[in-house]
C-alpha cells in the first residue's frame, strides 16, 4: 500500500497546503526526511509570501502538483546539523530560498550558478531524486542540504530579511550580471511591489539614480519619500514617458502581468538594457526596431546561485537593507493571498510561523 505523505519520510511535519487550484490553504500533516550527514534542519520562524506562491497555488503556470505547501523565503534557527556540515552549527540564524537541490556537477553548478542547473530542485512543487515531493516554508520545520542553506548576518532582522531570499536575490543578481552597479548611472524600476521596492533600496546602495515607473500614481510619495527613489514616472501617462525618452541606462522590470515593452524600451539610452523578472503566463510583445536601432537588449534573470545569495545578504546587512513587510498569522494567509492578488500590501507579507503555526 502506498505511503501517505505523513508516512513517506521519517520526521513528522505540519504546515498549511492547498489541494486544488482554488489555492485555498488549510492545515496539512506531512513528513520530512531525517537529518542526513550533509543536512541542516531548521525550526522555521518566518516565511515570506512571494507572488510566485500565489501563481503556483492557483496553477497559473500549468505545472502545479497538489497538494502544495508554498514558501521559499524561509528563515529560522538550525536545530540539527549533519556530521559533514561545516558552515553551520546548532543555534545559527539561517535561511532557505528558492532551491534545495541541484546536480552539483554541471557547468552551471560548478560556477556557483545552481539556479540555472537543468536539474535544479525547487523548494516546493518539485520532486526529489527519490521521487518524493518537496514542501515549502509555510510549515514548522525543513531539512535542507547545507549547500542550499544561507547564514543570516547578525544585524539583519529575520522577519524583514526573509523576503531577501527570493525578492532580494532576484533583483540583486541581474544588477551584478548586467553591470548595473556603476554609481551615477540611471536605473528605472518598473513595478513597485515586493521585487520593485527592494530593487530601489539595493540600487540606491550601489549609488545609482533611480526612477520608479509605475501605473499607480498614488505610489509616488512612498517611492520618493520613504524608499529613496529620485523620481517617479506614471507609466500610463504618454507625456511623462515621452519626457523621459532615452534617459535610462538600465531598467529592471518586475511587473508580472502582461504589459507593453515598447514604452520601457523607449526610456533606455543607446546600449541600454532591460531585464525582465516577472513571469506572465503569456509571451510579451517585443518590438524589434527599437532594439536594433539603439543596440538595446532584453534579458532575463532567475533568482540567484547560493554564493551570490549569501553575498547579497551580507551586502544588505552592511547597507541596512531589509524588506518592508506586513507580519501576518498563518490563519490570515488566505486573506493575505486575496490582498496580494490586488497588490494590496506594502510590500511583502511575512508569516510569523513560530508564533502562529500550531497543530
Amino acid at each position: 500500500m502506498a505511503k501517505t505523505v505523513e508516512e513517506d519520510k521519517q520526521q513528522k511535519a505540519f504546515g498549511w497546503a492547498a489541494t486544488d487550484p482554488s489555492g485555498t490553504l488549510s492545515p496539512f500533516y506531512f513528513s520530512r526526511r531525517e537529518n542526513g550527514d550533509e543536512d541542516v534542519t531548521l525550526k522555521i520562524l518566518y516565511c515570506g509570501v512571494c507572488h510566485s506562491d500565489l501563481h503556483i497555488l492557483k496553477n497559473d503556470w500549468g505545472f502545479t502538483s497538489y497538494p502544495i505547501v508554498p514558501g521559499h523565503e524561509i528563515v529560522g534557527v538550525a536545530t540539527k546539523v549533519g556530521k559533514n556540515v561545516t558552515k553551520f552549527k546548532v543555534g545559527d540564524r539561517v535561511g532557505v530560498g528558492v532551491l534545495v537541490g541541484s546536480c552539483k556537477t554541471c557547468e552551471c553548478c560548478q560556477q556557483d550558478l545552481e539556479n540555472y542547473c537543468p536539474r535544479l530542485i525547487f523548494t516546493y512543487n518539485s520532486h526529489n531524486p527519490d521521487g518524493t515531493k518537496n514542501y515549502g516554508g509555510y510549515s514548522d520545520m525543513i531539512v535542507v542540504d547545507q549547500r542550499y542553506v544561507l547564514l543570516f548576518p547578525d544585524n539583519l532582522p529575520l522577519d524583514a530579511g526573509a523576503p531577501l531570499l527570493c525578492a532580494g536575490i532576484t533583483v540583486y543578481s541581474p544588477m551584478k550580471y548586467y553591470g548595473m552597479t556603476e554609481a551615477g548611472k540611471h536605473l528605472g524600476v518598473a513595478g513597485l511591489g515586493g521585487l520593485g521596492h527592494v530593487a530601489v533600496k539595493i540600487a540606491k546602495a550601489f549609488g545609482l539614480k533611480v526612477t520608479v515607473i509605475s501605473s499607480s500614481a498614488q505610489k509616488e510619495s512612498e517611492a520618493i519619500d520613504r524608499l529613496g527613489a529620485d523620481s517617479f514616472l506614471v507609466s500610463s501617462d504618454p507625456a511623462k514617458i515621452k519626457s523621459a525618452i532615452g534617459s535610462m541606462d538600465y531598467i529592471i522590470d518586475t511587473v508580472s502581468a502582461a504589459h507593453p515593452l515598447l514604452p520601457l524600451l523607449s526610456l533606455l539610452k543607446v546600449n541600454g538594457k532591460l531585464v525582465t523578472l516577472g513571469l506572465p503566463n503569456k509571451p510579451l510583445e517585443l518590438p524589434v526596431f527599437p532594439l536594433v536601432s539603439g543596440r538595446k537588449l532584453v534579458g532575463g534573470s532567475d533568482f540567484g546561485g547560493m554564493k551570490e545569495t549569501q553575498e547579497m545578504l551580507e551586502f544588505c546587512a552592511k547597507h541596512n537593507i531589509a524588506a518592508d513587510i506586513e507580519l501576518i498569522r498563518i490563519d490570515e494567509i488566505n486573506t493575505a493571498m486575496e490582498r496580494l492578488a490586488k497588490s494590496d500590501v506594502r510590500y511583502r507579507f511575512v508569516i510569523d510561523v513560530a508564533n502562529s503555526l500550531s497543530q
Partner: protein
C-alpha cells in the same frame, strides 16, 4: 522655386533613380556638391544592392522621398580631396557605407558609435547639412566627408568588398559587441542571404563554430561546402531543433520576416544571446520563461560606427573574407530587384557601375 536636381550643385552627376513607389529605376541626371575642404570625391566603380534599397525604392518603410537614388555599399577610386583631408589622396581605393553624416559631438559620436547618433545622415534619401537630399551609389560619382570614407586594402577586390560596407559591418559589429567572436564558441546564423552568408564567413574566420538555420533545405550543401558552416538546421523541423537544444552560445538572426523566437531561444545554452539584425515590421512574440530560466538575452544591432567599419574591412582583407556576389550591369537592376524580392541571388548583387553606367545625353 526649388532647383532641379541637376542644378542644385556645381558638379554634374548621373545615376539611376526610382521615381515612385513602383520602385522601378531609370536614368537620372543630378548633381553633387563641390568637394569641400574635408571632402573626398571618388569615381564609383561598384555598388552593392542591399535589401534595404528594395524596401526604400518601394517606400515600404514610409520614409522615401522621390526621386530616390539608392545604394550604400559604394566603392571606387578617389578623384579629388579637399585641402584639409589628411588620410586620403587621389587614386586611393575607398568606400562609403550607410552614413555620410552625424552630429560629431554627442556621446555616441565621441565613442565612435556614429550609427547610434540621433542625428545620423543616411547616404541616400536623407537631408544633408546644407538641406539638400542625399543620393546614393547607383551613380557615377560620390562625395563624402573624410570621416565617413573607408579605405579598401589592396588585396580585397573592390567588387567583393562593396557588400561589406553594409552587410559586412551589420554582422561583424554584433559578433564583437555580444562577445560571439571567441574561438571555440558555437553560434547559429538564421537566414542565409546577404547578411547571413557574410556572418558565416566572419564567424569562421574568428574561429567560431557555425550552424546555419534556414527554412530552405536546398541551401544545406552551399552552407556546408561553399561557405564552410559546420552544420545546418531546418528551422521548421522540430526533431532537428530538439536535437540541437541548448547547444549555441549565440545566434545572429538576419531574418526580417515575422518568425517565432521560442525555437531560437531553445537552441541557446544558458546565458546565450539572440541578436536581431533584421527588423520585422511587427513585434515578435517573446516567451518569458525561457529567457529567465536560462538568463538569456535578446538584443539588437544596427550597422556599425566608422572606426569599426574600417576595422571590419581590414579584418576581411587579412582573413580573406569576401562576400559571394553576382556582378550585374546597370540595365539589369530592375530585374535584379525582382529576383532579390524572391531571395534569388547568391548572395549579393553588385552593380558594375564603372563599366556599365553610361550617362545619357
Amino acid at each position: 522655386m526649388p532647383r532641379l536636381p541637376e542644378e542644385e550643385h556645381p558638379n554634374k552627376a548621373f545615376g539611376w533613380a526610382a521615381r515612385d513607389s513602383s520602385g522601378v529605376l531609370s536614368p537620372f541626371k543630378f548633381s553633387r556638391r563641390a568637394t569641400g575642404e574635408k571632402d573626398v570625391a571618388f569615381k564609383v566603380l561598384y555598388c552593392g544592392i542591399c535589401h534595404s534599397d528594395l524596401h526604400m525604392v518601394k517606400n515600404e518603410w514610409g520614409t522615401s522621398v522621390y526621386p530616390l537614388v539608392p545604394g550604400h555599399e559604394i566603392v571606387g577610386e578617389v578623384t579629388e580631396v579637399g585641402n584639409k583631408v589628411q588620410n586620403f589622396q587621389v587614386g586611393d581605393r575607398v568606400g562609403v557605407g550607410c552614413l555620410v553624416g552625424s552630429c560629431r559631438s554627442c556621446g555616441n559620436c565621441k565613442d565612435d558609435l556614429e550609427n547610434y547618433c540621433p542625428k545620423t545622415i543616411l547616404t541616400y534619401g536623407a537631408k544633408y547639412y546644407d538641406g539638400t537630399t542625399t543620393y546614393g551609389g547607383y551613380s557615377d560619382t560620390m562625395v563624402a566627408d573624410e570621416h565617413f570614407i573607408v579605405r579598401i586594402p589592396d588585396n580585397l577586390p573592390l567588387d567583393a568588398a562593396a557588400p561589406l560596407l553594409c552587410a559586412g559591418i551589420t554582422v561583424y559589429s554584433p559578433l564583437r559587441y555580444y562577445g560571439l567572436d571567441k574561438p571555440g564558441l558555437h553560434i547559429g546564423v538564421v537566414g542565409l542571404g546577404g547578411l547571413g552568408h557574410v556572418a558565416v564567413k566572419f564567424a569562421k574566420a574568428m574561429g567560431v563554430k557555425v550552424t546555419v538555420i534556414s527554412t530552405s533545405p536546398n541551401k544545406e550543401k552551399e552552407a556546408l561546402e561553399n561557405l564552410g558552416a559546420d552544420s545546418f538546421l531546418i528551422s521548421r523541423d522540430q526533431d532537428q531543433l530538439q536535437g540541437a537544444s541548448g547547444t549555441l552560445d549565440g545566434i545572429i538572426d538576419t531574418v526580417s520576416a515575422q518568425h517565432p523566437v521560442l525555437p531560437l531561444l531553445g537552441l541557446l545554452k544558458s546565458h546565450g544571446k539572440l541578436v536581431l539584425v533584421g527588423a520585422p515590421e511587427k513585434p515578435l512574440e517573446l516567451p518569458v520563461f525561457p529567457l529567465l530560466q536560462g538568463r538569456k538575452v535578446v538584443g539588437g544591432s544596427l550597422i556599425g560606427g566608422l572606426k569599426e567599419t574600417q576595422e571590419m574591412i581590414d579584418f576581411a582583407a587579412k582573413h580573406n573574407v569576401k562576400p559571394d556576389i553576382e556582378v550585374i550591369s546597370m540595365e539589369y537592376v530592375n530585374t535584379a530587384m525582382e529576383r532579390l524580392a524572391k531571395a534569388d541571388v547568391k548572395y549579393r548583387f553588385v552593380i558594375d557601375i564603372g563599366k556599365t553606367l553610361k550617362a545619357t545625353s
